[in-house]
């Protein structure tokens, strides 16, 4: 667990970001992006903090968070595996790739492994359709992924621990 001190430090960064904004009108989404970037997910504490700073009712903040799929209120794994499920990847077999990940990691899309190492999720097109099917692990892109590569990709991150 993070100590209170760490949390305070991080809130300072968020505060700084909010203060530095030229135009605070409609800033909520940008602030949520920043907060998720800093903390990995949006906890209740963070949400209440943002609501207070931007003077927006926290219900509204929750409403925005739940609307956009990019935001998450659950902690995510160390490695986020995103299988592109855009059309180009789909017609080249992305759904089978997703099933393979689900099978090996023993979780469903959208879930995180118990050891908090991997989060598996689907994504709609990153625009690298020439490389379909595409899998992204954090920021690294794997192109032309074949079924038997799935295991190797996972192992690449298993060993790093």
């Amino acid at each position: 667990m993070e100590s209170k001190c760490d949390t305070q430090e991080k809130f300072k960064q968020l505060q700084k970001f909010i203060d530095s904004m030229e135009d605070r009108r409609g800033a909520l989404i940008a602030v949520l992006h920043k907060a998720q970037h800093l903390y990995g997910y949006l906890s209740n504490d963070v949400i209440f903090y943002i609501a207070e700073k931007l003077e927006i009712p926290s219900a509204k903040v929750f409403g925005v968070i739940s609307f956009y799929s990019y935001f998450t209120t659950e902690p995510r794994g160390k490695y986020v595996i995103n299988v592109c499920l855009g059309t180009a990847c789909f017609v080249r077999g992305a759904d089978a790739i997703m099933r393979e990940f689900e099978k090996i990691l023993n979780i469903k899309a959208g879930e995180t492994t118990e050891d908090k190492k991997f989060t598996l999720s689907g994504l709609r097109c990153i625009g690298a359709c020439g490389l379909a099917p595409v899998v992204m692990v954090n920021d690294k892109v794997y192109g032309r992924v074949e079924l038997n590569q799935v295991k190797t990709i996972i192992e690449e991150y298993q060993e790093e621990a």
Partner: protein, 597 residues
Amino acid sequence: MSNFRMHLLVCGGTGCTASDSLELVKMLKESIKKHEITNEVEVVVTGCFGFCEKGPILKVYPDNVFYITVKPEDAEEIITEHVIKGRKVERLLYVEPNTKKRLEGQKSIPFYKKQIRIALRNCGFINPEDINEYIAADGYQALAKCLTEMSPDEVIDTVVQSGLRGRGGGGYPTGLKWKYTRQNQSDEKYIICNADEGDPGAFMDRSILEGDPHSVLEAMAIAGYAIGAQYGYIYIRAEYPLAISRLEIAIKQARKLGLLGEDIFSTGFNFNIGLRYGAGAFVCGEETALIHSVEGKRGEPSSKPPFPAQRGVWDKPSCVNNVETFANIPPIFLKGPAWFKKIGTEKSPGTKVFALAGKVNNVGLVEVPMGITLREVIFDIGGGIKNNKRFKAVQTGGPSGGCITSENLDIPIDYESLSSIGSMMGSGGMIVMDEDNCMVDIAKFYIEFTKDESCGKCTPCRIGNTRMLEILEKITKGNGTEQDLKDLVELGDVIKDTSLCGLGQTSPNPVLSTLHYFQDEYLAHVRDKHCPAGVCQALFSFRILPEKCVGCTACARICPAHCIEGERKKVHVIDQSRCIKCGACYNTCKFNAIEKG
């Protein structure tokens, strides 16, 4: 200033960077340093060349040599052979598939032959992070001309005369949109660039923003001058980090030179641009939803009227145009509306960028004149279907579009012709499908997408699409009836007629068009409980052909369910009750002894 004798242009688009083009740049630079020719040769990272299938792309100037699929380890050879000794690296040249001839120049490659590049004119030609290169390529000249020589009305007239139509999907005349926004009096107005490219399989906007960000900034400033706005927003997907960073750099550079900011060219015109990030909601591509999202709210659409031209961001008149539309603006002013009108068809002048993807040989970004046929795009530019399979259909317009079959391949492409055959232009995604794709499964894929992305505000879209998905799932599982097909049509018509925004109004298109063109395939699913393409797992099986099986045991070894039995050199058999239909055996067998059907 140093005089480089040679420029090495390396594609830095998302597709090529994913296949290691930045590592290639690093290796090239290291090799150049090693051979002490740093002041002779410059390595330039550019935007997308469009030929993503063969990436990473490297182009050598002035020799005009076009290398494909260049790996980081090829860097040394390119430097020592080509750059130092002037000998081309033959093995990295493009090979013409029919004649097997190696082609040097970019223009000689069939993929580029039929293209006319207006919106993509600078992609793969200039360094997107250097404003000077954009200026050298006539950048900001159009803005200068508008501000110093033309009145806002003249600017709008020029766009109207050019006949430019919105490239984001609807095809609404851009000039008229500007005109209506100008007519609405207000102290504040806004220009919005819609860069929320949500259609899966379309990536032209991303490529323009990555490869030529200044052209969009310049066009927004021109639009701002025309309608009387002083501020512009670019609403961009958070999934495009590279495009975001290039835009940030471009805005900074333009501000520094005073091409954005106060009193531009001493004309008293002020214009600034800010970025707004999307957060993964497809519906935000719809302009009223986008406006709400720019305001930091839930991106739900609202009914029109009032149109954004009347009441947009912060309830002020706003004009929303798409990235590709903006990228067409500067050339129209530099070369004149008559020049633009001559390209393309009478009702749809100019070009359109298509993202060609799916089961086609040359996946990539192509810009072609309107009026070209789908056949030319898919077979001449795209190089035909992968692995010599049979063409089945091409899906245009993303989740709002429909499928087009071979009988309509020779129709000239424009906004009207695509609508008349049950599809639409959309943002320009073009997904090619072959005989292995099941059209019921494709329709299900799109409905699953719209069901997920429906914002939930209006009932027909929220519940209607869910019901449609349920019916399609039932069909693909082998429990469908002919009545289900009738229900799908009825449900689809209701959703189209009664939904609030464009998302719902077009969402049944993929289902309705496949039902129309591939009725046989749907009937096979419901009547014969059979999936002809062998995709829907419940509706096909694998079978080993005794006359072809040699008993090599390869299938039995790879089967993850261990359900293939048989002795060495004897015919093998699949236990159907345990088969999970993963297809591993089918892909492994070297003797074509496994049948799918």
